[in-house]
């Protein structure tokens, strides 16, 4: 059976789509809005919509369906509620054997970076974080967001330029 014949309506196929894409989808929306709750709600609604339309969607197209649906839901949400975007602070997880002063400076540096990332234009932020945190290639990101690879690279570049520019200002 080719993967095109797989029915999305079959629970094992539906679950495999979930296991493969749900986390990236959640991160994608989270990077846009900075709200874990909203991101999780949108992921659930997108998968429910996938289920409702399961008979009409080819297995190999399920990923792009999900991302398109989630993006539209996000746009509706933002337009509807004028969501205040708040990017959650994350702490670095690597252990280092540097001096406490160095570690503190590292931490402050990271916090500054996070504030600047939160202020980046949404389009740059989602590309940047999908690449650095989710380790997606520019080709993958282009497919998820629906842009050319070149456009993705330009956004990456601009994000970094802004980060360097702003980090000096704080």
């Amino acid at each position: 059976m080719t993967s095109e014949d797989k029915s999305v309506c079959e629970s094992k196929n539906y679950e495999s789509i979930f296991n493969t894409h749900a986390e990236t989808l959640r991160n994608f929306v989270y990077y846009k809005c900075g709200s874990e709750q909203l991101a999780e709600d949108i992921v659930q609604e997108a998968f429910i919509k996938l289920w409702k339309n399961c008979a009409k969607i080819i297995f190999t197209k399920a990923k792009s369906y999900l991302f398109t649906v989630a993006n539209n839901m996000f746009l509706n949400e933002v337009a509807h509620q004028k969501v205040v975007l708040k990017y959650k602070q994350q702490t670095g997880s690597k252990v280092s054997n540097e001096t406490p002063e160095f570690i503190l400076r590292q931490k402050e540096f990271q916090e500054k970076l996070q504030r600047i990332i939160a202020k980046l234009p949404e389009g740059q932020r989602e590309v940047f974080l999908l690449n650095r945190i989710d380790k997606k290639t520019y080709v993958e990101i282009a497919e998820i967001i629906g842009l050319s690879v070149k456009a993705v690279e330009k956004r990456m570049h601009k994000a970094l330029v802004t980060l360097r520019k702003e980090i000096g200002n704080i």
Binding site: F18, V43, Q44, K94, T137, L160, L163, R164
Partner: protein
Amino acid sequence: MMEEKYDDTFLARWLANDLTEEEKLRFENSAEHQDYLQIIESVDLMEAPSFDKKSILSSIQQKQQIQTSTVRKLKTSWLYTAAAAVVLLFVGFSSMYLNADETFETGFGEKITVNLPDGSEVLLNAKTTLSFNENSWDTDRTVSLDGEAYFKVKKGEKFTVATTSGTVEVLGTEFNVHTHDDDIFEVKCHEGKVKATTKTQKTAILTQAKAFSSVEGKTTSWSFNTNDPSWIDGESNFMEMPIKHVIEALQDQYEFEFIAENIDTTQRFTGTFSHKNLKLALRTVFDPMEISYTFKGEKTIILRNAK
């Protein structure tokens, strides 16, 4: 200004190791290089918030049944030179179910899996209709069935399968129900315990590997091997089934029109047929019954007495 020295994708390509040797060297010797390195090293330590796959998947599965219903139009299709009376029955059935909240229907040769609001699963064989009311599911686990389905019921409140030929009640178990209108009622228990009641109130309590059927008034009980292939694996099996219903089952899988000339369609058949090979299926059903089958055109088979 840095932006003028490099093109607008430079830093992206740097991160992806996609620079020419010359570009790379020039960048590594620049004042900005160290700044960018420091930024990237710090960002790469960041993590996305944790993601609890299991719990999110299960809340999706619970919600996906609480949706506005999609009712599919029932197709009417005429299988053999059947009487108008049978057409009326079919129409009667369809109007009864069009008002149910959630209805699923399979076509010829089609099998689907339906997830119920509590996580129970129902596998539908071809030409089968299943409906239930998702709003009252919490307090009343009842489904209506016409056709054939395999149920995997999660432990919980009583679970009822209502058909026009009988009712099945279980608590949590796996079983197979095969019905057709009000004259076929067959239940096979694969696991757990099942109570089957015919429309004439005859009851059978079935434990694992026990089966019961009431076909046109005649009841039969038997034991079967739960490891034997079933319609789920592509093989339909029958115990003492009037051949006219076996012919219908063949039609449900293969979508051929069978025309029965002068054969006694009430003769009973015990055996199996494959869903994957029409010629083999015809042989295994009709050869033992001494019935000949001839193809007429693309979609019709004529059955005659070979005796």
